[in-house]
Each structure stands twice: as C-alpha cells, then as structure tokens.
C-alpha cells in the first residue's frame, strides 16, 4: 500500500511536469500566452521565497527579530550589484550566520 502511494505520487508529479512539454509544437506561441508565461518565474519563485524568509519554524509571521529578513535584503542588494549567484549566497548566509551563530 505504501509503495503504491509512493508510485502514484511519482506518476502524478511526472505527468504534471510532462504535460505541457509533451504537447509543445513548433508553431509560434500566441502573444496572450507568452504574456502569462513570462511571469511564471517571478510569480512562482516569489511564492517559494517569501514564506522561507518571513515565516518562522512554527509557520507564523515573524517581522521583528527575524535575521532572515536582513540576510535576504543584503543578498538582494548584492545580487543587483554583482549578478552573481555564488556571491549572493555567500553574502546572505554570512549575514544570517553573523546574526544567529554565537
């Protein structure tokens, strides 16, 4: 039963990922669709980013006393200036560690 649940979950995940790729054709993407799709990275990645920064371990909003906010803001500033992922990670993690590790 457990294996079946795992396998079905896997099949569903694969089907979701495969769905649009499978149907893709070489014809030109209509402009309205292109207008929606260009917001996919911004929208979905923002959805994955915000809770990681602003929610604490018990899933509640933490604005004051939240070192992750300062770490993320420093990382954002550095990424705008350098456009480098690795420098962004180093900055964000260093700020976080400076504020959390004793």
């Amino acid at each position: 039963m457990m294996w079946a649940t795992i396998v079905i979950s896997g099949i569903i995940t694969f089907t979701i990922r495969f769905s649009a790729i499978y149907k893709a054709t070489n014809s030109e993407t209509p402009e309205w669709l292109e207008n929606i799709l260009k917001y996919v990275p911004t929208s979905v990645l923002a959805v994955l980013i915000f809770p990681e920064i602003f929610l604490n371990e018990s899933n509640t909003l933490e604005i004051l006393n939240n070192p992750k906010i300062l770490a993320a803001l420093s990382a954002l500033l550095v990424t705008i200036l350098t456009k480098s992922i690795i420098i962004t990670i180093i900055t964000g993690m260093s700020v976080l560690w400076a504020l959390t590790l004793n």
Partner: protein
C-alpha cells in the same frame, strides 16, 4: 567539422548547466539529508525513503508526503496533496515547452522527469544570457537536471545512513530561496509589473500558508500571474 561544432555547443550547454547548478547544491544537500532523516523518523523503511527520492523526485512534496503519512493521513489525501504542491511544475513545463518542442519523446520524458524548481530556475536564467544557444538549451537543462538528481539521491542516502551530519543551526537550506531571489531580481528591478507581481504572490503565499493540502502554492502563483498580466496591459510600454 559541422558535427564538431554541434558537439561543442552541446557540451558547452551541458557543462554550463552543471556549473550553474553547483552553488545551489549548498542548499540542496542539507535538504536531501533532512529528507532522509525525516523519512526514517516518520516510520518509513530505508528503501521506501531512498526510492521516494527517485520515484517522486520533488523535495518539498516528499517532505509533505512523509509528514502526512506519519500523522495518519489516508493515501488518497496524501496523493492529492503531492499533486497540488507540484502543480506549479505545470507552469514551468508550459514556460519552457517551446524550447523543447523539436525534441523526440524520450528526450521530453527525461527532461520532464528532471524538471525541478532548481533546474527550472537556473535554466530560465540561462535563457536570459546572451551567449546561450537556444537550439541546444535542452543540454543545459539535462546538465543541471542530472547534477541535481545525483545530488538528491546521494544526499537522501547519506541522510538515511548517517543521520544529522550538518548542524541545523547553519540553516544551509536558506541558500535555496537566496538563489531564487538572485534569479528573479533582474526582472524585478527592471519592470514594475514584475516587482508588484512578486510582492503580491509572495505576500499571498504568507497569508494563505495554513491552507489545507498546501493549496497556497498554486493559489498564490496563479494570483501572481494575474497581477503580472493585468499590470503588463495597463503599464504596457510605459514602464
């Protein structure tokens, strides 16, 4: 000669995919370790935990899976929950589909299987770069995908066998949102519509975070798309 150029373009894209994904591994490895530990703690066998990483191959939904099952959730609801968490991958799939349209079905199957948040994120970044060869873009996705896949399997395995080897206080998992931030930053700085789209989607994600079945992910993503498209129309070329 022509074949050589084609091969070198393939290699170039493949290895640029591999190297683009290396920084993210700082966050992926601890995530895989944690998943391995969580799986055993939740009462799954080592085999079930290990193979979940290749059968499902989607970190957040795997964590949700083991948590749901261990709290007594019925299989049907667990499966639905995994599906909803991973619905966002449909958007990824749609967003890169046109670059993969010319490929054979086996290629499409492999790339779809490898299409994670991280692989998608770095490959989108690649598409924005000038020297990208979009005809061989699929090799970039293959390179990042295989690297992430191997890392995920190995780190799950290490989590199962070794348990907690990296101190939790280091918060290495925070590297993943930092990478995503780095990837969306250029558009956000450049266009108001992208900035407001990110803010709207992100704030809604926080507000809806306690929705059942992790519905917040897909609801907030779609909300962000709507904001983006509406602003695109109103701000248009003025921005």
């Amino acid at each position: 000669m022509v074949t050589n150029i084609r091969n070198s373009s393939k290699n170039k894209e493949f290895f640029s995919g591999v190297s683009a994904v290396l920084p993210i591994l700082i966050g992926v490895i601890p995530f895989g370790l944690i998943f391995g530990i969580l799986g055993l703690e939740a009462g799954f066998t080592a085999n079930q935990t290990f193979f979940m990483s290749s059968i499902i191959f989607a970190g957040a939904s795997q964590v949700a899976f083991v948590k749901l099952v261990s709290s007594g959730t019925v299989p049907f609801i667990t499966i639905i929950s995994v599906g909803i968490i991973n619905l966002r991958h449909f958007l990824y799939s749609a967003s890169i589909a046109k670059y993969l349209a010319h490929l054979t079905t086996p290629w499409k199957i492999i790339l779809a299987y490898l299409l994670t948040d991280e692989a998608y994120a770095v490959s989108i970044k690649r598409l924005q770069e000038e020297e990208v060869n979009t005809a061989f873009y699929h090799y970039h996705l293959l390179g990042s995908g295989i690297t992430l896949w191997l890392t995920w399997q190995i780190s799950t395995f290490l989590g199962i066998v070794l348990g907690q080897i990296i101190p939790e206080e280091l918060n290495l998992g925070f590297a993943i949102p930092l990478v995503f931030l780095s990837i969306i930053a250029p558009e956000i700085i450049k266009y108001k519509s992208h900035a407001i789209c990110a803010l709207g989607a992100g704030i809604l994600a926080i507000l809806l975070n306690n929705l059942p079945l992790n519905l917040w992910i897909i609801f907030s993503s779609i909300f962000g798309l709507i904001i983006g498209v509406l602003l695109d129309k109103t701000l248009g070329k003025s921005q």
